[in-house]
Symmetry: C2
Subunit: 244 residues, 2 copies
């Protein structure tokens, strides 16, 4: 394998926030090393993540993964990584105003991701879902009934405003990839609740389909990690309001 | 009053996330309009915020406040606003590597702010604290016992690494102001728990004191909104582990 310029460091068993970075490499056809998904014997696996978060790698210590290692730079925080990579991978809009808007939408997607995480971890990430199922039911119901439609309408309006089928500007940029991943995750975790809203967000669904088409080879490959009951998007029927 | 170049739009009754922006104007001696704190009759008050979040102002609609209006630009998401303003107010570090690190730390401060908010709103922001006091007790205890020390040690290490008494680079930048505000809020909301950690973070406490000195006139003024039981940082003794 030729040496890749970029290395992603993220928990190897789940798509999580790392997948948002991975999609940027895949959509732009950029070679990257997916370090923690390499065998432990070759320096990969979970220990690779811990080397970074424990400060055993030169550079500022990240609080958490995903982490990007590029040359001598070690960069953390997903929106920060996206912003750093976007112009380098030709996935940034042109001009400051559109870049600021793209980052604003990226951060808002991050807020939705946090809320989805909290549906199964309402009382802190030091617990497991099974510790507080009643709290999760309340949190998830609030998300489904009061937040999901509002968030999705917000992104739909942004696409409508741009008038070109993308969130910002005239072509696909990094934030579109993140919206794609968010929609994929919501469809997985909340098939019933998301199913009730999808007809109201035609532009978002078209964007999702266009990104899926562009990423078809990747999405069918083993590089694409499936959603499961690890990570952010989890398919607990009771949190989707379809049981209990 | 001379026309200010910058307008901040934020809920007028609480410091919240708006205060992090306000501190940038105050520390840099920049004139700004604090729109929602002006009288309703003059276009201020809560209706001013709603005009923006309901899309009644030209430009991309913000999902939530704080909002910055600068010329024809309407910008939302706190870390985005900080990043936009920092170079304009001479509060950004020099060079891309340090700017990326500053944004990374800014986003991490944002994560702490979210966790603090969730100590009194564990099941969603559509409830009031009194709706789920038992869940809040669990969430707050987790924050105090498993997160607070770890977050604070992280920022302490960043200051130690920079070796100049600031989070990034050789002088005060916007992210230092945000750390100051975070420490102020933690000291208010968790006097007992924060009191137990403060001796372990001497560099952070020195930074806090230096910023307080620089902002002394502002902090003593009526422009500075006090913490209360609205907003992010709230002084419920039971969530600090000092009752119940």
């Amino acid at each position: 394998m030729a040496a890749a310029e970029y290395t992603l460091i993220y928990w190897p068993m789940l798509p999580g926030r790392g997948e948002f970075v991975r999609l940027m490499f895949e959509a732009s056809g950029t070679a990257y090393r997916d370090l923690a998904r390499e065998p432990k014997e070759k320096g990969g696996g979970v220990p690779a993540v811990l080397r970074y978060t424990r400060g055993e790698v030169p550079g500022p210590t990240p609080f958490a993964a995903p982490i990007l290692h590029h040359g001598d730079r070690v960069i953390a925080q997903l929106p920060n990584i996206v912003q750093y990579l976007a112009p380098r991978l030709d996935l940034a809009p042109a001009g400051e105003a559109e870049q600021v808007l793209a980052h604003q939408l990226q951060l808002t997607i991050g807020d939705v991701v946090n809320e989805v995480h909290d549906t199964h971890h309402p009382l802190g990430n030091g617990f497991v879902y099974e510790d507080h199922p009643e709290a999760a039911l309340i949190r998830a119901r609030f998300f489904r009934e009061k937040r999901l439609r509002r968030w999705l309408a917000y992104f739909e309006a942004a696409i409508e405003r741009s008038a070109r089928g993308w969130l910002v500007g005239e072509r696909l940029t990094a934030v579109d990839l993140s919206l794609f991943q968010l929609l994929e995750g919501l469809a997985f975790a909340f098939p019933r609740a998301f199913g009730e809203v999808r007809a109201e967000i035609p532009r978002s669904m078209t964007l999702r389909a266009r990104v899926a088409e562009q990423l078809a080879e990747y999405l069918a490959s083993t590089r694409r990690l499936p959603f499961s009951r690890h990570g952010i998007f989890r398919d607990y029927p009771e949190l989707d309001g379809s049981a209990g």
